[in-house]
């Protein structure tokens, strides 16, 4: 395979555009497999769910603003908090990070698309349809109502005969397909489609985070999907997995759920930590301190993260030995987090920080990470957890984790990559208002929750009696929650205004070091005109850092313009290996996702006809999808060069 020098000029651009660009109009919307479009769709959809979950939270905060209020019925409150939890954890926090990774991976790795572009589209469509599937239950008044961890027997048929829980179970199984195919796609993309020279010690930390998350998801999602299938058969077909009368075990659910649930917590924070590790150094004008320890800490967190699920169940009557083991593991898991924390602080300390809006979000995240981390240490200490568990202290802790460690980096990340996504900068002035409103609102609202937790307020209560000392703090929390919501509103306003009239951004408005900033903004459909050759972690800072004689080559490399093609490289060293023929835009992912939706709708309606039709449609969609195409090299000799 000869190296083709950059011919320069427009006709390469035009040729690649013709090959890669999605068709205009509705056809393109429904059939596009462009990772950038899918990534942005993921982020936008996740934000719509964030707003839905946020409105649910605000309604609950009104009910809790004072003792004995009667704004909501107990049933309405219980559906609201269940949907709030499900929405934020499954439909916002995970998918929004998938959105970032989808958008960024090929740009960070130096390739033209993900390894399986159609699978990528499928993953998005299923996420969207699963979210809609779940939300249909809301206007019907049949939303899930047993909490986001849905413990039987409360979620079993005897105590919850309506379809509420079936929406939860089927929705989660459906969504699990999306998570699983997405994770597989990330893994293969990482292993096979990195630019030449992008060895694993040169990967951005976001890639480490998403890699770790993807492996975690592949191992953890089956546990919860299994639990959901078992409970569904208990409810609909009379099996007895969780039925005490027939010697079933309610605790089996808790084990399966948390074997998934705890790694999932890391899945929804590790890529966000990656956003910080990659974006923060740009604003500190220096490379990240301790790249290797931080990368290893990311992986170590997930490995230990598989051994701590029991800390969600300390009060269930476990033997002392189990308590001691899982408690120790839960405290030890803090050590990798300490590594990252000190790496970030040192990066700022030894750098020259420029206090832009993204910097404010990313650096304040460090503080919120520490608060959420140390409150995690407190809940990890078994005997004290006997007191803390299921109080508002835990509610405070998990919101510092989910908002502090997910929402703040995500918003900071959007400020950072918005120019790459849209070609425009986000407003800096409104950005500061946005930051301070969110930061103060969040801390005023959520920090006092720790205290009301220490004052003994249990979580998941729709009201409380006066005289328990909880009124003032709850009012404060309600006020803070609304202030935080205004902050989010300012963010959305800034987003829309900048989209219309933001300052034009060049290719590299932040003077950042990584590959995605070497291409024009917004990134062209084909990403890189030539596949770059990478010689360090900071291709765009090499000249100035001058750490070795080697230089990345961003303008000379494989052109690959015979149809949709990208380069496959070897697993560890990223040596060029072969040319991958990439599929074009396709309706098959949408068709398969819709067919699956029909199947799941049939299951919730107890309609054999509907689910039968869905199954046939699924089989047909898969058949069409997998039908061999000569252009993909699937017939005869492959193009192994």
């Amino acid at each position: 395979m000869p190296r083709i020098a950059d011919e320069g000029g427009l006709h390469i651009d035009a040729r690649l555009k013709a090959i890669w660009e999605t068709a205009p109009g509705i056809r393109g919307v429904l059939s596009s497999v462009d990772h950038k479009r899918i990534g942005i769709r993921y982020i936008v959809t996740a934000f719509i769910f964030l707003i839905a979950g946020g409105v649910e939270a605000l309604v609950m905060r009104l009910q809790l603003a004072h003792s004995d209020l009667k704004i909501l019925s107990p049933e309405a409150y219980n559906q609201l908090f269940t949907m709030h939890g499900f929405t934020m954890i499954f439909l916002y926090a995970g998918p929004v990070l998938s959105g970032f990774s989808n958008y960024l991976w090929p740009l960070l790795l130096g390739s033209r698309d993900m390894a399986f572009p159609r699978l990528n589209a499928l993953s998005y469509w299923i996420f969207l349809l699963a979210g809609i599937f779940l939300y249909v239950s809301f206007p019907l008044g049949l939303a899930p109502n047993a909490g986001w961890f849905n413990y039987p027997p409360l979620s079993a048929k005897d105590y919850n005969p309506g379809p509420n829980i079936d929406f939860y179970l089927l929705g989660l199984i459906f969504l699990g397909i999306s998570t699983t195919v997405g994770a597989a796609n990330f893994l293969v993309s990482l292993l096979r489609t990195r630019a030449p020279g992008m060895s694993i010690n040169r990967l951005p930390i976001l890639v480490w985070g998403t890699l770790t998350t993807s492996i975690g998801n592949l191992l953890a999602v089956p546990a919860v999907s299994l639990a959901c299938v078992l409970l569904f058969t208990d409810r609909q077909f009379g099996t007895h997995f969780f039925d005490v009368e027939a010697h079933g075990q309610p605790l089996l659910w808790q084990h399966l759920f948390w074997m998934f649930g705890h790694p999932w917590v890391y899945a929804i924070v590790l890529p966000a930590l990656g956003i910080v590790s990659d974006a923060l150094p740009t604003f500190c004008r220096r490379p990240l301190v301790g790249y290797t320890p931080v990368a290893l800490a990311t992986v170590a967190t997930m490995i230990v993260g598989f051994g701590v699920w029991l800390h969600h169940m300390f009060a269930t009557g476990m033997p002392m030995l189990s308590l001691a083991f899982f408690s120790a593991a839960s405290l030890v898991i803090t050590i990798p987090s300490a590594v990252s924390t000190f790496a970030w602080v040192a990066t700022i300390w030894t750098g020259k920080p420029v206090l832009t809006t993204p910097f404010l979000f990313l650096s304040s995240f460090i503080l919120l990470f520490v608060i959420g981390g140390v409150s995690g240490v407190m809940t990890g200490a078994v005997p004290f957890d006997f007191q803390l568990t299921d109080t508002y202290f835990v509610v405070a802790h998990l919101h510092y984790v989910l908002i502090g460690i997910n929402v703040f980096p995500v918003v900071g990340g959007i400020y950072y990559w918005f120019p790459k996504m849209t070609g425009r900068m986000m407003g800096e002035r409104l950005g500061r208002w946005n930051f301070w409103t969110m930061f103060l609102g969040f801390n005023i609202g959520f920090f006092p929750m720790h205290i009301v937790g220490l004052m003994g307020m249990p979580r998941r209560i729709y009201t409380y009696a006066p005289g328990l000392g909880w009124d003032t703090i709850n009012l404060l929390t309600t006020v803070g929650a609304f202030a935080f919501a205004i902050g989010i509103l300012l963010f959305l306003i800034n987003l829309l205004m900048s989209l219309r009239s933001g300052k034009r951004a060049g290719a590299n408005p932040w003077d950042a070091p990584t590959l995605e900033w070497s291409v024009p903004s917004p990134a062209p459909a084909y990403n890189f005109a030539v596949i770059p050759v990478v010689a360090s972690r900071h291709p765009l800072w090499e000249e100035r850092l001058n750490e070795s004689a080697e230089r990345s080559d961003l303008s000379r490399g494989y052109l690959l313009d015979h149809g949709r093609e990208t380069l496959a490289t070897t697993v560890l060293d990223a040596e060029p290996d072969l040319i991958l023929k990439m599929p074009g835009d396709s309706y098959a992912p949408l068709a398969l996702a819709l067919a699956l939706a029909v199947l799941f709708v049939g299951l919730i309606l107890h309609s054999a006809t509907c689910s039968g039709l869905g199954s046939v449609a699924v089989a047909l969609a898969i058949l069409v999808w997998l039908w061999p195409q000569r252009s993909l090299g699937q017939i005869g000799e492959s193009t192994h060069v």
Binding site: L154, Y159, V377, F384
Partner: protein, 338 residues
């Protein structure tokens, strides 16, 4: 950012001192028995250490941000550099964190051992069954005649450990008296053991802490720590049967009770033997109705008997729609059940 922290820190401590007094009866930062006290020390230790960590890292972060910040907003005008010395931060910071964490692991394990069992053999056992949404308590004794059943409010003798046998009945609940001990879940299909001891006279509030459906919010329980003599007297009293009604009104009330309430409730001595709801033989000795939903006074009692669904929607107690005279009679009768 960090000056804001300082204020938060003060708020924490101000609130604790408030919490420690009776204005926060559910706090567990001040406890009154050996099943909780070692945990409370650990809790305070953890709280202080964690606040210090937040202050230190927050302070470092603030200094780091302000000390060398570039005033010019144009990023490209600030040169890129790769100064050394960063790794030292990770080594020192992680090293100190590790030592502190290992210390906490040791403290945690010792605390766990300290509360694993009662300091002396428990003096008796209370069998607690958790229902949607109330607590059934059976005081066990070697002689079955001295065993009795009550609901929602326990009494224990001062300074003596008492064993709790927690039995799940419908869904999962969690038993918790923050001033006396941490939570133990009550799970159908398994029996969990716990123990409590009160070293100070008083009544301590707790409530269910595992989400258990519509009325999870109204599932409180109380433990009163009595002197040895008062406790003995209470037990004897609980063993007694209800007195026969002494007036025309209460006689009619008893008849209404037997006709409309006895399918679910027991009144020993009156021939009411229902087991679905709480035993009401001595309901007037309790502080609250509906497991902490309302205070036990005549007005609330009448409201509760008339329409429990209005005050505790979803509870298992139906709306009775009694005629006014019947309602007046049955509440008058119930007020004699002391």
């Amino acid at each position: 950012m960090t000056d804001f922290h300082g204020r938060q820190f003060l708020v924490v401590f101000a609130s604790f001192s408030v919490a420690a007094c009776s204005r926060a009866p559910m706090t567990f930062m001040r406890t009154f028995g050996p099943a909780a006290d070692p945990v409370t020390s650990l809790g305070w230790g953890l709280t202080i250490i964690c606040c210090l960590v937040i202050l230190i890292v927050g302070g470092l972060l603030l200094i780091a941000t302000l000390r060398a910040r570039a005033t010019d907003a144009a990023l490209s005008s600030v040169p890129i550099a790769h100064p050394g010395g960063g790794l030292r931060w990770i080594i020192v910071g992680t090293g100190i964190s590790t030592v502190v964490l290992l210390g906490l692991v040791v403290w945690t394990m010792f605390t766990l051992a300290a509360i694993a069992s009662a300091p002396s053999a428990p003096v008796f056992t209370i069998e607690i069954r958790a229902h949607q949404w109330w607590w059934e308590a059976r005081y066990l004794d070697d002689t079955s005649q001295r065993t009795f059943v009550t609901a929602n409010e326990l009494h224990i003798p001062l300074g003596k450990p008492v064993q709790l046998r927690l039995i799940g009945d419908d869904v999962i609940h969690s038993f918790w008296i923050p001033a006396l001990a941490g939570k133990t879940d009550v799970i159908p299909g398994q029996t969990n053991m716990a123990w409590i001891q009160g070293n100070t006279l008083g009544t301590y509030r707790g409530q269910c802490t595992e989400y258990c459906g519509a009325q999870h919010a109204h599932m409180a329980e109380f433990v009163t720590v009595d002197s040895a003599a008062a406790f003995q007297q209470w037990w004897e009293h609980q063993l007694s049967e209800a007195a026969a009604p002494s007036s025309a009104a209460t006689t009619r009330g008893e008849a209404v009770f037997l006709a409309r309430c006895a399918a679910c409730h027991t009144i020993r001595g009156a021939g009411a033997g229902g087991i679905l709801g709480p035993d009401l033989t001595h309901i007037m000795t309790r502080r609250t109705l509906g497991a902490g939903t309302m205070p036990n006074d005549p007005v609330s009692l009448r409201a509760w008997v008339n329409d429990a669904q209005a005050v505790k929607p979803g509870s298992r107690m139906p709306t009775l729609d009694l005629p006014q005279q019947d309602l007046a009679a049955v509440t008058a009768y119930m007020q004699t059940l002391d």
